[in-house]
Symmetry: C2
Subunit: 73 residues, 2 copies
């Protein structure tokens, strides 16, 4: 199986595990919809920072409400 | 190994294979930087539409220069 563990990076650059064994990842209007192989869903206000699939790792970065200046990214 | 195949969807909704055996995916200022397990790199003006890791599939969507109205996504 080729699911990944999803980590969320906060404003201080600290990473914490958000959801394990994630199969589906879908960005949607500034949020990321995650679903793992057990059918658990999580929706977070974040964007994808980087993914390393061979390491089974997806890193998300929190989207701050005030960061409109980054809207073009 | 848990790499994925990356497909690019064009304006007509047609999907074509962009890069196989992708390990690293990194969004960067409206572009996506891809790197596969052979060290091949590709950079495309696109955004991630959805990922289904168990199916080894990542779908990107072309970013059109005029689509500034979608900048908040």
């Amino acid at each position: 199986m080729c699911e990944a563990n999803v980590y969320l990076m906060d404003e201080d650059g600290k990473e914490s595990l958000l959801l394990e064994m994630v199969d589906k990842v879908k960005p949607e209007k500034g949020r990321i919809v995650l679903e793992n192989i057990f059918g658990q869903q999580k929706i977070v206000k974040a964007k994808i920072k980087e993914m390393a699939l061979v390491e089974h790792k997806i890193l998300l970065e929190k989207v701050l409400p005030k960061s409109k200046s980054k809207a073009n990214e």
